[in-house]
Amino acid sequence: MAPAVLLRAAVCVTGRFPALAGVDLAVDPGETVVLEGPNGAGKTTLLRLCAGLLALSGGEALVLGCDLGAGDRSSLRRRVGMLGHHAGLYDDLTVAENVRFALRAAGRSAAEGDDAMTRLELVGRLRRTAVGRLSAGQRRRVALAVLVARRPELWLLDEPHAGLDRAGRAVLGAAVAEAAAGGATVLLASHEPEEAVPLADRVVSLAGGRVTAVRARRAADAPARGGAHVA
């Protein structure tokens, strides 16, 4: 079975800065990998590279069968879902309108969006609220609803736990677990190991634009995902 993500000595230069300085990584389909590392280690760049947003400056990268060095990244982007620092939502539109727009853009039906919003507890008056009025955590949930509804093969989450309250984190954890159970590959960058590692199959440490360590999730880390999560 071919890896979902395969990077060999991948170099990615943003501006004049080599954000990724030779990354080696292989992720199997359906695997959940947590990326950890200090600020500036290149986690966001790695995720954006895998989303097909950045050009590869050196080395090799193969994501969902797409060779990132070869040029056409637009077909990859449709199969990938990313939750980044910016939610990519329109402040003046309501939650429901944003979700509907995003789904129709992705070629999905609006009904799937309603379903996802309900599962993420975006109901009632919240749906009719303009996104600009929501808190950061709530905005993250809206973006997550879009992601859940789109059901991409590869999930790229950039510090998704930041700013979320306990309930939000639970909802996020459940969504990620569900996606992984459904066969999606998940790459999650996080500063909060207690939240992220329980979801992971492997933990990859990144520093200075390179992978410094890889380890499987140990029993001592936390209960396996799919186990007890906060109700």
């Binding site: 079975m1 071919a2 890896p3 395969l6 060999r8 000595a9 170099v11 230069v13 943003t14 501006g15 004049r16 800065f17 080599p18 300085a21 030779g22 080696d24 990584l25 292989a26 992720v27 199997d28 500036g40 280690a41 050009a55 590869l56 400056s57 050196g58 080395g59 090799e60 193969l62 060779d67 060095g69 070869a70 040029g71 492997r202 520093a207 200075g208 634009g209 390179r210 992978v211 410094t212 360590a213 890889v214 499987a216």
Partner: protein, 282 residues
């Protein structure tokens, strides 16, 4: 540690110097012939002398420099012919072209002053050239925005393309604009003097001289662009080394990628990948 800058072979350096000397010499001869040797025109008297300088400069500015800049931009944009050389050529050509466009305006203005007594007139050619200058300045402004090479090339190429599309439209509209203007005009459509004899030769020499001058400046500017990119790459290599130092010791590569399936992606699938930067694990 750093690789040396790409150097010109001795022969190429000599050729470039010869080109430079020849162009300067040709321009000087044109000026000499134009100012002292050729006879003044019957109607336009001494003012005609600018015809040896203004039209050649204008031709170089618009068709040669701008045309080359637009063409190489399109070649860069088209993925099948994309190559960093086109981007460098476009940058060099547009920049030298801007200088020539400005010179076109200056010589045109001087000619206008000599012929009509005004420093500026809204005739078709001057106006179109002024607009061309602004378009080229826009191109230069976009090139100065700090970004990575690919993004910069992309943006500049689009600006060049749109400008190239705009130039004929501007030319037509301004042309109609001035010819339909009635009453109180300062422009004299009969500006082209009859050219014969020594004047024709001088004019021809003028075209050759300024074309040579453009070629020389273009080559030198292109070289500067190449050197600037080399320096960026060197700085990048140093930045890479610093970046690695940031990360501390890196685990052995093979063992660091445990996976249930060993990397079974056929190496062929990644064929055509660009060579990696400086070797890792230094």
């Amino acid at each position: 540690m750093a690789s040396p800058p790409p150097a010109w072979s001795r022969r190429r350096a000599v050729i470039v110097h010869v080109l430079g000397a020849a162009s300067v010499l040709a321009v000087a001869i044109t000026v000499w012939l134009g100012l002292w040797v050729t006879p003044p025109d019957q109607h336009l008297r001494d003012e005609v002398r600018l015809v040896y300088v203004h039209p050649p400069i204008a031709w170089v500015a618009l068709y040669l420099a701008f045309g080359l800049g637009a063409l190489s931009s399109v070649l860069w944009l088209w993925t099948r012919t994309r190559s960093a050389a086109w981007d460098r050529l476009a940058a060099a050509s547009m920049e030298v072209g801007t200088v020539f466009t400005a010179l076109t305006l200056v010589t045109g203005s001087i000619w206008g002053r000599a012929t009509w007594g005004v420093w500026w007139a809204w005739d078709a050619r001057l106006t179109s050239t002024a607009l061309l200058l602004v378009l080229q300045l826009g191109y230069l402004a976009v090139r100065r925005v700090p970004s990575d090479r690919d993004a910069r090339a992309r943006r500049s190429a689009v600006v060049a393309l749109v400008a190239a599309v705009d130039v004929p439209i501007v030319h037509f509209s301004v042309d109609w604009w001035t010819t339909l203007h009635q009453g109180g005009t300062v422009t004299n459509p009969n500006l082209s003097p009859t050219i014969h004899g020594s004047m024709a030769w001088t004019l021809l020499l003028g075209f050759v001289a300024f074309t040579l001058l453009f070629a020389w400046l273009l080559v030198v500017r292109y070289r500067l662009v190449t050197l600037a990119e080399w320096r960026e790459d060197t700085e990048l290599a140093e930045a890479l080394h610093e970046r690695w130092a940031e990360g501390g010791p890196v685990a052995e590569r093979r063992a660091a990628v445990p996976t249930a399936t060993t990397a079974t992606a056929a190496p062929g699938a990644l064929a055509g990948a660009r060579p990696a930067g400086p070797p890792a694990g230094s």
